[in-house]
């Protein structure tokens, strides 16, 4: 048997009721109004519905405020902080590995090695110093992970369509590179395609390099998973849909699930070139 949202609640406790509406769970629906009256939570069904109206209004309005409070600038800070933590953790992990190698022989590399050292017991002062550094490194890597989780939670509220197509982390990176969701929405899709590849772009504009085919969107499986000759096409198709998604997110906020199907279809056709000869 499941419990209704009112189970165990003081009928006058607003905060607890709001919390229950938001976070509660039940396996199956039941005749809650009747149960609430029976349990003495409400005098009759009319009183129950009155209370339900109050608490669903309060809970939903709080949930909306929380999700909307995650704005694009918060996302920009979070994704930049995540990148800083990852970069610094990797740099320190290399230092830890080099130091560890000198003490214990060649025993590993990367953040994982730092994490394993952080859990070790100390034999002497050299161990203590190395372990302290390994702990800091593992801590930074952990911070990067929790920032990533925060981005994964909030990006879909800030930019639902962009997050749907790009995934929350890439969506946040694009918003960060553009400087905000509005700035991203105003960029032509050719710019979105090479965001994050500015060095290569300026080398090309100076005349001594080919034009970059993709920037940070390279991390998307639709670009990376397409064979080299067709990656430019895949990147262009993806960037086109991402710009449309960013514009809808900024200007209207509607969800357009059909964008995903349109993108899937475009990429499928581009990737099919590899099988069916080269002409489209």
């Amino acid at each position: 048997m499941s419990n209704g949202w009112f189970a165990g609640l003081d009928p006058d406790d607003d905060a607890a009721a709001v919390e229950q509406i938001e976070a509660g769970r039940a396996d199956t629906p039941e005749d809650w109004p009747q149960q609430a009256v029976k349990a003495g939570f409400a005098d009759d069904e009319a009183a129950y519905y009155d209370r339900l109206h109050e608490v669903t209004m309060a809970a939903t309005s709080a949930a909306v405020a929380e999700q909307e409070g995650a704005d694009d600038q918060q996302l920009v800070h979070a994704v930049r902080a995540m990148a800083d933590c990852e970069r610094t953790a990797n740099e320190l992990a290399e230092r830890v590995a080099e130091w560890g190698g000198s003490r214990y022989g060649d025993s590993g590399s990367g953040v994982e090695y730092a994490r394993s050292l952080a859990d070790q017991d100390d034999e002497d002062e050299g161990d203590t110093a190395l372990r302290a550094l390994a702990e800091q490194t593992a801590g930074l890597a952990g911070e990067a992970d929790s920032l990533r989780a925060y981005i994964e939670r909030t990006a879909p509220a800030v930019a639902p369509n962009l997050s749907m197509l790009a995934g929350p982390v890439l969506a946040a990176r694009l918003i960060s590179l553009a400087g905000g969701l509005e700035a991203l929405a105003k960029k032509p899709s050719g710019t979105v395609q090479v965001l994050g590849a500015e060095d290569a772009l300026f080398a090309h504009l100076k005349g001594n390099a080919p034009s970059p085919k993709h920037g940070v969107i390279f991390t998307h499986e639709y670009v990376r998973g397409t064979r080299r000759e067709d990656r430019g096409s895949a990147a262009r198709a993806l960037a086109g849909k991402l710009s449309i998604a960013a514009r809808i997110d900024h200007y209207s906020g509607d969800r357009r699930p059909e964008l995903q199907a349109e993108l899937d279809d475009r990429i499928e056709r581009i990737q099919a070139r590899a099988e069916g000869g080269d002409d489209e």
Binding site: S2, N3, G4, W5, Q20, I21, G24, R25, A26, D27, T28, P29, E30, D31, W32, P33, Y49, D50, L52, H53, T56, M57, A59, T60, S61, A63, V64, Q67, E68, A157, P160, G253, D254, R255, R256, P257, E258, Q260, A261, E262, D265
Partner: protein, 210 residues
């Protein structure tokens, strides 16, 4: 076709349209305290205008999936009983909250219709599930939410072909949605919602016994 009690035909600027009584929500035309239920903006409104046998009589308990800004669910709450409105996107829910302010029988919930366990502790078994979710897997949403329907309850769904597959012929999409729904529901009536809503299929169905 009989309209549910609380839904009437009224004249708005020379045009006859279905209407309900309540506070205006989306700038619709009004005639006294009757407000126009615009079938171009509401798929359930289109189903009623097209004469589909929805089985609605008035005063039903309703679970509405995909309430969005509350355009349709506000009309449902006008003629229905306790009405639970589920919507997943925070932005439209602000307007849904405004619509629910004056409707004591309307309960807004910011929840995902694909996760019924996240609102089964609030929603009671209902006479009618109205579904208008623009997501892929619309038949699956209907199946997941079948548990809320009483034995002789009704599913009133608007299926959007483009949400399932933009490139396929809508007729093919509807065939496969009908087939998928058929395992859990007995389909009583289906009809295209043109000209009000292109590439949408209206569905009236009754849950099959488990």
């Amino acid at each position: 076709m009989t309209l549910p009690t609380g839904v009437e035909r009224h004249e708005f600027g020379g045009e006859t349209s279905i209407a309900t009584q309540g506070e205006p929500v989306y700038g619709e035309r009004t005639d006294g305290d009757w407000r126009r239920w615009d079938p171009h903006r509401s798929k359930l409104g289109a189903m009623l205008e097209q004469g589909m046998e929805t089985g609605l009589e008035g005063d039903e308990t309703v679970l509405y999936l995909g309430a969005a800004a509350g355009t349709t669910v506000s009309h449902v709450a006008d003629f229905g009983g306790p009405t639970y409105a589920v919507e997943f996107a925070p932005r439209p829910v602000r307007e849904l909250l405004d619509a629910a302010e004056s409707r004591r029988n309307l309960f807004p919930l910011l929840k995902d219709a694909r996760k019924p366990e996240s609102y089964a502790h609030v929603v009671e078994p209902v006479d009618v599930v109205v579904q208008d979710v623009a997501t892929r897997g619309q038949a699956r949403v209907a199946t997941l939410n079948k548990q809320f329907l009483t034995d002789d309850g009704r599913l009133l769904a608007a299926i959007k072909a483009r949400s399932e597959d933009v490139t396929a012929d809508p007729a093919d999409v509807f065939d496969s949605v009908r087939a998928e729904l058929g395992s859990e529901y007995e389909l009583l009536e289906t009809a295209r919602l043109d000209p009000y809503h292109e590439d949408h299929l209206g569905v009236v169905a009754r849950p099959r016994e488990d």
